[in-house]
């Protein structure tokens, strides 16, 4: 019997010999890394930097714009171009509508998507894949097509209002007094219901636009939710609603908040739905950006400044969301 553990004279620890092939690979790797950094930095950051720089530039009548360093565009955004002689909050009002549409639409989308996604994740893998194909197909569908579809549905001549009138629903509404309520909400003209142009139509289309996104964003968290958690709660006597409130909701609270935030940022820049469905007095910053950069009132620096404001708004909401999620994580 031999026992090992004794030490032989230590062999010299020679450093690895650099091989030519290895060096060549390393050089190639370095070149690719550099190229990637350049491409990504230039293409992702330079456009944003340009927006920032141009937002402090000056408009030149009839010739576009020139470099500058002025807060003029931001001041105009806050209090109007004629300030201090005259103060208008036109652009701030537009920002308010941007946020209002985006908040309402993203909350509606997430709240309605939550039960749907939960039910979907309880189905078989195959059924889930089918649902995902359906959702991804509608999700990727261009905003222009979606707006087109809702426009037809909501238009006064051929859509839901026609259906309301033809089916007698309008008369029923008039008889029960609901018609006057709808008129107060701006959803009816003297003869029939009307959905275009209204805040209702705008928000509806916007939340439709992001609804598949909401499902996709909630899907990972809900599909990882251990079904035995709910089952355990059931065996302890919890009713379905109690299970949802005490087990499922707390588990997805953070993804829920995250989904609302992401959809909010996405909708801040929404354009087509607003131009088609919203009353011009309730148009958004994104519409104004479009008008100033490419539309009738060419003023690139002011458009850029409004873009920056949109970005800052998005960032502020993301930071608040991050704070909220941190405190709720720490507290919960």
């Amino acid at each position: 019997m031999t026992v090992v553990g004794h030490i032989r004279p230590a062999a010299d620890d020679a450093p690895p010999r650099p091989e030519r092939a290895a060096l060549r690979w390393r050089a190639l790797g370095l070149a690719i890394t550099l190229l990637l950094w350049t491409v990504v930095l230039v293409l992702c950051l330079v456009p944003l930097a340009l927006v920032l720089v141009i937002s402090v530039g000056q408009k030149v009548e009839g010739a576009g714009w020139e470099w500058g360093f002025t807060a003029e565009n931001y001041i105009r955004f806050l209090v109007g171009a004629q300030w201090p002689a005259e103060t208008t909050f036109l652009y701030l009002t537009q920002l308010y509508w941007s946020m209002r549409y985006a908040v309402v639409a993203s909350v509606i989308a997430v709240v309605t998507a939550l039960p749907f996604t939960y039910l979907m994740t309880r189905q078989s893998r195959r059924a889930q894949a089918l649902w995902l194909v359906f959702l991804l197909a509608t999700l990727s569908l261009s905003e222009v097509f979606i707006v087109m579809g809702w426009d037809i549905i909501l238009s006064n001549n051929s859509g839901l209002p026609m259906l309301f009138a033809a089916s007698g629903l309008t008369d029923w509404l008039k008889a029960t007094g609901w018609f006057d309520v709808l008129r107060d909400w701006g959803l009816a003209n003297p003869r029939n219901v009307k959905f275009k142009t209204s805040e209702f139509a705008t928000v509806l289309t916007m939340s439709y636009l992001v609804w598949p996104y909401a499902v996709i964003l909630l899907y990972p968290a809900l599909s990882r939710l251990d079904p035995s958690l709910a089952e355990a709660a059931r065996t302890m006597g919890a009713r379905p609603w109690t299970v949802a409130r005490t087990v499922i909701l707390p588990a997805v609270r953070l993804p829920l908040l995250g989904a609302v935030l992401l959809l909010f940022v996405f909708l801040l820049g929404g354009y087509v739905a607003v131009t088609v469905f919203a009353d011009p007095a309730k148009h958004t910053t994104a519409v104004s950006v479009y008008e100033h950069v490419r539309g009738s009132t060419l003023n690139a620096p002011f458009g850029a400044a409004q873009s920056v404001i949109l970005l800052v708004t998005a960032a502020v909401f993301l930071v608040i969301g991050h704070r909220l999620s941190r405190t709720s994580r720490g507290g919960g």
Partner: protein, 365 residues
């Protein structure tokens, strides 16, 4: 080719020492098992032999050539992985032929060699299958065939049986051993299962905490464990703490005699170990090391019975064939004999250092 040798191999991950200065030789054509509990450094050692990890110190030589820093793909060591690591995007045949294909062997020839190897591991005709269509046992055979395809200088297996169920495991151990003997390839198997090591190995290396505890044949390791750790890890043992006095060992008030006791100075703390099947139970006979014990529990295992006993030496477990006539009941008192030649003695280490460092008194034995 030639023998594989490790010289003072060590591997540190930051502060943690995974492998701590191991020197070993692996004779050509033998099957060596690296045996130890999880986290003892055996897999790290195997991966360094394979060239998948670079040792932080020491050398690895193959037939006298230093291969310490030769990358895995230039070593020609075949390896079977714990998860088998079969490529799901390739057929069984393409998996086996992988080493040949990337080495530039013509397609037809590689396929023919792969089929011969599949034949060797009794999977003839399954070459077209996808990996997902195979059972656990079949996957293991594919993994073995694949590792052998390049006719490796050394054949390495990392816990090759852990993904199989118990019955299949024993069959495969025998089969793998027969295959290895037929091919005569130097083989190293990493395992935490002592039965697996004893079934297959010419030689077992017991490791603990990055060091070698003992090296020897299965019989040597079982009957002459070099340390208390080995005695406890390989098979079962009753341990008793004692103190050397006048050429005997005092365990509590009882003096036990054994041949090696004289080597220890009076007053030195020792640990005694005795296999459960070595303790004799019953009235008959006189002689040294007799104590009484009360039966507290009987565990019937079919061919054998374990008797749990309360004695003056502490709790003891005694194993008896179930065909023996004497079968005391719970609560009965029986006479026990601990034969001096069956007792193993180790210096007792201070409680905080259980690392099993080999004491010089024993290493000299």
């Amino acid at each position: 080719m030639g023998a594989l040798s490790l010289g003072n191999i060590g591997k540190e991950y930051g502060e943690a020492r995974a492998v701590d200065g191991i020197t070993l030789d692996f004779p050509e054509g033998q099957l060596t098992a690296l045996l130890g509990p999880s986290g003892c450094g055996k897999t790290t050692l195997l991966r360094m032999i394979a060239g998948l990890e670079v040792p932080t110190r020491g050398t690895i030589t193959m037939g006298g050539r230093d291969i310490t820093r030769v990358p895995a793909h230039k070593r020609k060591f075949g390896m079977v992985f714990q998860s088998f690591a079969l490529f799901p995007h390739l057929s069984v045949r393409d998996n086996v032929a992988y080493a040949l294909t990337i080495a530039g062997t013509p397609r037809g020839e590689a396929a023919a060699r792969a089929d011969r190897l599949l034949d060797l591991v009794q999977l003839a005709g399954l070459g077209e299958r996808r990996i997902g269509q195979l059972s656990g046992g079949q996957r293991q055979r594919v993994a073995i065939a694949r590792a052998l395809a390049q006719e490796p200088d050394v054949f390495l297996l990392d816990e090759p049986m852990s993904a199989l169920d118990a019955k299949l495991r024993e069959e495969m151990q025998v089969e793998l051993r027969l295959l290895q003997q037929r091919l005569g390839v130097t083989t190293i198997v990493v395992t935490h299962d002592q039965r697996e090591a004893m079934t297959m190995a010419d030689r077992i290396i017991v490791m603990s905490r990055g060091k070698v505890e003992q090296e020897g044949t299965p019989q040597e390791i079982y009957h002459w464990p070099a340390t208390g750790f080995v005695a406890g890890f390989i098979g079962r043992a009753n341990f008793m703490d004692g103190i050397a006095r006048d050429g005997r060992i005092m365990v509590g008030e009882i003096a036990l005699s054994l041949p090696q006791a004289a080597r220890f100075l009076d007053g030195s703390p020792v640990q005694l170990a005795c296999r459960p099947e070595a303790i004799r139970m019953g009235e008959g006979g006189a002689g040294a090391n007799r104590v009484q014990g009360r039966v507290t529990f009987v565990r019937d295992l079919g061919p054998v019975r374990d008797f749990h006993l309360e004695t003056v030496l502490g709790k003891l477990v005694v194993e008896h064939g179930s065909d023996q006539s004497t079968s005391p009941k719970i609560g009965e008192t029986v006479h026990l004999t601990l034969p001096p030649e069956a007792l193993r003695i180790y210096p007792r280490l201070p409680p905080q250092d259980l690392s099993g460092g080999v004491p010089s008194a024993l290493a000299a034995e």
